[in-house]
């Protein structure tokens, strides 16, 4: 464990904010400062992944802020830096749009704080900062639709944070502490503890966009500007995922519950993605399914979120360049080679094709589940392969125009990371991956004959109702002494 001064850690956390406040004064420095902030974040993520740390930082006493720079935060901090870097590079040739770079740096700092915070009050502040910044980013051109989507996002986000605060108040009433660890120390099968846990869980699940509490996600991610969609699907959902993984590590009795919710979310997202006719909505529904897979394993989840975030951010950036969003006309126009290759790599990585990084993460995830859950996971993986098989079926045109830097960077990382971590996968897992991909392609060909219509679930009242339903079900299950299917 390397020693590091707390001043250095604080400086690392605050530097993007300082840069964000400097940028409006010196607009020409906005982009270099944002680039530096992103690189520092990626550097810290790499250092933590390489086994440096864990470092813990306690500010203003035992009731104050507690930050944990550890292996759980590592993949998320790395993802944050890389996605922001890719979004910056992607827009490097275009003129800067108003306060975009400033908001980007605030978002980076807010997300990093959410990843390292282990006291619930700091986490609350960090998530609210992230929510407000994401809202300002998604307003884009301020069209009627964008205003409506932004309002929905902020309304849903703030409502669940009020529910979250209620959970925090209950925790303080019982234990006199705001620490996540205090939750673990409470009596497990006690009524008040169950309600506290349910309130915190429903808030974090909504923020992460999981299952019916995450029904706000598809339309929000689809209607935001392309680079903002990349940020939202790539890292902003992770602001809810990382605390969920920490909670699941601290309170192991939640794990069967999270496995069930995660798999349900995976199936829900895949089903809607399969019948979708709009490119960005397909990607967004797929995010809803992938965040479900992240929460089923508290230890592999972070790496899974990293591989998914890199691929999905690249795909959303690409969706902004393709021009054609209607999938019914997807095969009628050709894609230039320098855009097609990042598209293939991103799509194949999420589908779990070797030797890409996504294959390696899916392997890790499959190893952790057993029993009926593993068959459901397999179904979700076949569905995911089918979703992305659809994107691959696009004619190819010779390379023309500039190379999309951001997407090229993300695709390269997926390939290099995969080759580095899993150069020679076992024959069994290779065969399994191939079978999943073939089954997925088959399913896509079958669905191509006619896609069924699914009920529409995205009115504002559905989103709020979904949150209420998940909250009530969580409370009932936790009050009933855990999940009935736990062994």
């Amino acid at each position: 464990m390397a020693e590091i001064s707390s001043a250095l850690l604080t400086a690392w956390l605050l530097l993007p904010l300082l840069a964000a406040f400097t940028a409006p004064l010196l607009p020409s420095l906005a982009r270099p400062l944002a680039l530096l902030s992103a690189m520092l974040s990626a550097g810290m993520g790499l250092a933590l992944s390489a086994g440096l740390g864990p470092w813990s930082l306690e500010l203003i006493g035992p009731l104050g802020v507690l930050l944990q720079f550890d292996a759980t935060a590592a993949p998320f901090v790395l993802l944050n830096g890389l996605v922001v870097l890719a979004v910056l590079l992607d827009g490097w040739r275009q003129p800067l749009n108003g306060p975009f770079a400033v908001l980007l740096m605030v978002l980076l700092a807010g997300l990093n704080s959410a990843f390292v915070a282990v006291d619930l009050v700091s986490l609350y502040v960090a998530l609210e900062v992230v929510g407000i910044t994401a809202f300002l980013l998604m307003l884009g051109q301020r069209s009627g639709l964008q205003l409506w989507i932004g309002l929905r996002y902020l309304l849903v986000g703030n409502t669940v944070m009020v529910i979250y605060l209620l959970g925090v108040a209950l925790l303080y009433l019982r234990s006199g502490s705001f620490r996540m660890q205090a939750l673990a120390d409470l009596a497990p099968a006690d009524g008040a503890t169950s309600i506290t846990l349910a309130l915190l869980l429903v808030a974090l699940l909504t923020k992460a966009g999981v299952f019916v509490s995450g029904l706000w996600l598809p339309r929000t991610h689809a209607e935001a500007p392309a680079d903002v969609s990349a940020l939202l699907s790539g890292v902003v959902v992770a602001g809810g995922l990382c605390p969920l993984l920490r909670l699941s590590q601290a309170v192991p009795m939640l794990q069967p519950l999270l496995v069930a919710i995660g798999l349900a979310s995976a199936l829900l997202g895949v089903s809607y993605a399969l019948v979708e006719t709009d490119l960005k909505r397909l990607l967004a529904w797929s995010t809803l399914s992938q965040v479900g897979l992240v929460i089923i394993d508290p230890f592999v989840g972070g790496v899974y979120a990293l591989t998914h975030g890199l691929a999905k951010a690249g795909l959303f950036l690409l969706a902004g360049r393709v021009g054609e969003r209607n999938l019914l006309r997807w095969r009628q126009s050709a894609l230039p080679l320098q855009q097609a290759v990042p598209l293939w790599l991103g799509a194949l990585s999420i589908a779990g094709a070797p030797p890409l990084l996504g294959f390696w993460a899916k392997e890790g995830l499959s190893r952790g589940v057993s029993g009926p859950a593993s068959s459901v996971l397999l179904v979700a993986m076949v569905g995911t392969a089918a979703v992305y098989a659809r994107l691959l079926l696009k004619p190819l045109a010779p390379a023309s125009g500039p190379l999309p830097l951001g997407q090229a960077l993300l695709a390269l990382l997926l390939l290099a990371g995969g080759l580095l971590l899993a150069p020679l996968p076992a024959q069994g897992s290779l065969l399994k991956a191939a079978a999943v991909l073939v089954a997925g392609a088959g399913l896509e060909l079958l669905l191509d004959l006619g896609r069924p219509a699914l009920p529409k679930l995205e009115r504002l009242d559905d989103l709020l109702g979904g949150i209420a339903v998940v909250g009530v079900v969580l409370m009932a299950l936790l009050l009933g002494g855990g999940v009935p299917w736990a062994v």
Binding site: W148, L155, L460
Partner: protein
């Protein structure tokens, strides 16, 4: 005698539920935002109530009355925490209301249903 803490707690939870129901059942967007604020205010009240659980005295010591264990101090922690949440809640409410005034140009009645049909110029093009 009923415990006043319990009674106030029940009132706070009632306010919270009233807000939640308003959020779920109202069709007018402005009323939805107000209902969300009712929920927020209820949680603020809960934190203040939490702080007053042990006593009502302001936790500021004056020279002549230094350590006197018999005095029941209020707990400064929840109050400090909720002050942050009040500021955040206020700014979010302000942002939402600004967006609402822009949306009022589309439907001055602010009926939720009329915004659900909005579609992007770029999508499904």
């Amino acid at each position: 005698m009923a415990d006043p803490f319990r009674l106030l707690e029940a009132l706070v939870l009632l306010a919270l539920l009233a807000g939640l129901l308003g959020l779920l059942l109202r069709r007018n967007l402005f009323l939805k935002l107000l209902a969300m604020d009712v929920m927020g205010s209820a949680v603020v009240a809960l934190f203040v109530l939490l702080a007053a659980r042990g006593g009502l005295r302001t936790p500021i010591l004056e020279a002549p009355q230094l350590p006197q264990p018999a005095l029941a101090w209020a707990d400064p922690m929840p109050q400090a925490v909720i002050l942050t949440a009040i500021v955040i809640g206020l700014s979010i409410q302000a942002l939402l209301l600004v967006v609402l005034t822009r949306l009022a140009r589309i439907d001055p009645l602010l009926d939720t249903a009329s915004f659900e049909q909005l579609s992007g110029a770029s999508s499904h093009g």
